[in-house]
Symmetry: C2
Subunit: 721 residues, 2 copies
Amino acid sequence: GLSSHHVFAQHPNLDITSDDVTSMRAAVESNGLFQQAYLAQKAMLDEQILLPVDVPVPKDGGGGYTHERHKKNYQLMYDAGIVYQITQDKRYANYVRDMLLEYAQLYPTLPPHPKRKIGKQNPGKLFWQSLNEAVWLVYTSQAYDLILPSLSAGEKTTIEEGLFRPIAKFLSVDSPETFNKVHNHGTWTTAAVGMTGYVLGELEWVEQALYGLDKSGKGGFLKQLDELFSPQGYYNEGPYYQRYALMPFVVFAKAIQTNQPERKIFEYRDGIVLKAIDTTIQLSYNKLFFPINDAIKSKGIDTIELVNGVAVAYGLTNDAGLLDIAKQQNQILLTGDGLKVAQALDNKLTQPYQFKSVAFGDGNDGKQGALVIMRQNVNGEQAVLFKPAAQGLGHGHFDKLTWQLYDRGEEIVSDYGAARFLNVEAKFGGRYLPENKSWAKQTVAHNTVVVDETSHFNANVKKGNANHPELLFFDKNDHVVMSSAKIDTAYKGVSLKRTMALINLPTKNNEAPELSFVVDVFDVQSKNKHQYDLPVHYKGHLISTNFELDTQLTNLPVLGKDNGYQHLWLKAQAKPKAGLSQITWLNDNGRFYTSSSIMDGDTSIIFSQIGANDPLFNLRNENAFINRKANAKNHTFVSLIEPHGEYNPSKEFTLEAVSKVNKLSHQKIENIDVIEITLTNNKRYILAYNAQQNIKDKHVNRFSFNGSTYQFDGRFKLFDI
Amino acid sequence: GLSSHHVFAQHPNLDITSDDVTSMRAAVESNGLFQQAYLAQKAMLDEQILLPVDVPVPKDGGGGYTHERHKKNYQLMYDAGIVYQITQDKRYANYVRDMLLEYAQLYPTLPPHPKRKIGKQNPGKLFWQSLNEAVWLVYTSQAYDLILPSLSAGEKTTIEEGLFRPIAKFLSVDSPETFNKVHNHGTWTTAAVGMTGYVLGELEWVEQALYGLDKSGKGGFLKQLDELFSPQGYYNEGPYYQRYALMPFVVFAKAIQTNQPERKIFEYRDGIVLKAIDTTIQLSYNKLFFPINDAIKSKGIDTIELVNGVAVAYGLTNDAGLLDIAKQQNQILLTGDGLKVAQALDNKLTQPYQFKSVAFGDGNDGKQGALVIMRQNVNGEQAVLFKPAAQGLGHGHFDKLTWQLYDRGEEIVSDYGAARFLNVEAKFGGRYLPENKSWAKQTVAHNTVVVDETSHFNANVKKGNANHPELLFFDKNDHVVMSSAKIDTAYKGVSLKRTMALINLPTKNNEAPELSFVVDVFDVQSKNKHQYDLPVHYKGHLISTNFELDTQLTNLPVLGKDNGYQHLWLKAQAKPKAGLSQITWLNDNGRFYTSSSIMDGDTSIIFSQIGANDPLFNLRNENAFINRKANAKNHTFVSLIEPHGEYNPSKEFTLEAVSKVNKLSHQKIENIDVIEITLTNNKRYILAYNAQQNIKDKHVNRFSFNGSTYQFDGRFKLFDI
Ligand SMILES: [Zn+2]
Ligand SMILES: [Zn+2]
């Protein structure tokens, strides 16, 4: 049975406790980050509470006045609740009380929202969808908890009977599908109802929130924790939605911890909540989340969801690396955990956060493909994202085995992200643009193989969700991070297998490495002939090619008809001779990047720009080059991407604008792929790997190459020959 | 006659004196910016002096090995000279001595440089052009001055006879055209010879440097100070070259001041050297120089020429605003002035530097047009550059009356700058690209009127230099900065007159202004019919238009055949109805910008992108819209550009994405232009101005408008009606 002795503790007792309040009251009296944050917040609030309370009858959909006003109201109530607790000034409590009383009067009169979308989203009453209603309640239940000590018994009754009981009922027993759904909307809903249950002392609601309406455990918060994250804490829809999903998990878990510590919620599933927070951080580069799937590219670690996540995690773990992230977030929460972070920052306890090379298994079992992050530091921080991940539901992109490169703070090989101008009415109402489907989700919008100008799974989400790539291996040593994966279901009768490595070349006397490469081997096999396209969406200005370009001078035709190709202008094409083709571009970070590829003399290269069939200028005009192998059954694309040199027009120097790669070869020797890299100084390196399925950890590989014999254990080795 | 008693003072005695050295020796012993700079410099130098001295026989042109080596050598000698003076460690002096002895052996054997360009540039011996030779000598004469105390009489004789006397002779009496030329190359040459004269005690060389070889004053440094700057210190070629030109003026003036203070060189021409330094700062926005004419856009105030200028100016004036600039430059010079700056920064004496609205008269008399800068701060720093300036010689662009807008740190309405990848061999050897002439210099590459798709002066430099616009007025008050100018010579039989204002609307109770506009009235008059194009090169993503676009969906044609038009893709066109046309774009700074224009129903708008006829991808693919009035004799383009709102996808809000302008009208009532702006809240404003030539300061203007009578003094008034 549940022990209930914590539940009726004095208020507040959700994410902020009365012990927290004691510390916070002391902290605002002395100089420091917490005091600064408090004074700024209070100043803003002091202006707001002079304005009349406005609780409009719900009318508008997302972005409209009543929608935005109700959102603003929960934030104001939450903020005023905190300032009340800190100042003990009843003006703030009364402000919340007055607003709650208006809601208590309004709420029982409300029908389902007039702007609801029947059959699409569950409707709310204050908002067009119940998701917003749940978010509103997560905050408002906390605001109520914060001012409870100031209320009379009569006020309590009015507010609870008029507002909290009806809304909790509406979100739970009246909306069983959403409440029981193992989905992010369900998490907000169970969190809202569970937290309200703690405040009102309705432990039954908490039980339902945790185990589903029928308390069977088939739905509810714990099931969501079981299903929605991989064992490492990766969320199936990718970083952008992981960041968003984090909020209700962390907020509700914290409330459970406060009220029922015996549930050990932060230890649940081997600490899945803390893992999810940490994984969210790992899924960023230079403060921004990797923009896979439907992602707004400017979203980063300073998002409120992760500010809250980091504060709660720091409160639990005192991990000094989290302070590094908190510092970059530059936002102090007015909570007990926020205070701990602020004081630790004041005391300069920060340690560098450790970004790691890691393969995040996908799916609730962690075995439905993986999202692979490779990192190293060679004259700047580098990251490769390699994506043999699952589809990731409706916001997923058809981009199996795609990749991205980051270096010196910038995107080098990029993903378009979502086609959307968030909340900009003139751009399709601020929603996902039509081009999100026609371009951003399509395979050609990514850095992976397109067969016959069609997208993976024929752009069928259901088919995508039912199939996933298989991670063959992920491993690393001092000079190489490497991973390989395959998928046979993206196209009928075509098998795709890609092996990627981020390497740095060994130096004499263990000096810091100077040369780094991304190695990319993409093997396509089929019994029938197809056209294989492998795009590289590069960021920067094209500097040079070592082959002649046939550039469109006075007329740009469109590249194709459908599946994203209709959005590409054909700017130039080329058919390089057999041997090494090289394409160099200059990124805004001042560094040059060269893609060196092995050419067979029958592969063409197309230079494209996004922008065709774009009547309203919705798309960004970004550039790509596409390796095209037509009329082939099997083909292996082999490329090296090499950062080099520096363009510094401000200081008027340019260094090493030319690639150091002189030759590149690839051979398959039985099960071993052998890549030889020859530099312009005649130094040679061999990267050998075994990407067979299911080999043993201690597997010994041997091969002969150019008359010598080589040997390595495990998956790969970089030979300095 | 000249007093020579300073000249034989103890060495060093050029830009660094022995008094400076005394202070510098003390400063490196205590913590601070100077010590940090010194330790970093010394550490770099300590590595370099371990390497063998390399004084190669000159062979390569710009960018080649011997060219770069001789450049590196002068820097090493200069740095080693300073470190010798600070440390008194003879190793550093010996390093300079050994290098100088090698030069003394080599120099007499040298013929004119093998890579010289006959008839184009004056040749050097160490370098392909004498300009580099002069720069080399400016630094090397200082290095010699710094180590002189360490040398034996024999060493002195060897070095002076073998190197300094021959090179000074070569640059002066053997190259009279360059030496006497009133041009930046002449400044480097006279500075080099004059400084060498001070070190060797050859006051005759100094006299020649100051007054020309024949000492008539028709050439030489003082004549250059008279001719190359306007009275306000504006350099005819624009900020990019002003920055470059500054160096020899400041370095030589400082040496003159040290050796012959009685010349009062810094008071010469009402303090022209200091004015030139300050004007260079004023010609920047957010640390970068306004990129008019042939300019590399990433050049900014942290350039070494301005670091030196600011240090010398601070040494003379102790102006605390200069410290604001020095702080942003983030580079401390190892000189006496550098020390003063470092200590002032250590002592936090910095005051904000005052950027001003100002019209810099062009030409040596300041009456050959003007470069106008308008600034205000309305939710961020704003600047308008308006360019009724003279052609500015060979690096000038055909952009009479063009303009640019900057807001919140970014370019909003832009100038392409130069088409060049400085020192990137693959891009046309790193020189100005062919597209610099075919695109960047052409009128259509700018935000000014193009008549019949031809450029100003038919792109003839000589004709451009012989004609200049006329500034009609420049004036400002709290709400308006305004300027008007005209030119009748850019096109035969067409008169161009433009009036621009940067305004902010008055607020109640003198609250901070919230709304700002750029007002642009471009009046074109001719007796014959022409096509008038007025482009706006905007930076950002097109958000919306209030008229329908006919967008090219599957095929992009080129816009024209020549004069830059051959580089423009025609992306879309429109013919808005008579009334208000509005085009909104979103800049990377997160703000929206709307251009509202008065349409007559017979003007079309063309949306273009740079990139046609660009076989090697040399051009940046930037966007413009072009107002086109065809088949007209007279036409007035009237536009408002309005910054508004905020796009913040990171925090998930979008504010005021829609313009607040509802109506716009323009009438000419006798000599007064009357512009009425009506906002969406029905507030109305009238901006009235009188741009007639030659009116009196106290001129009283009266006009009737919509039944009311209005009156104002001087040039303009903004009426809040
Ligand atoms: Zn994508
Ligand atoms: Zn220009």
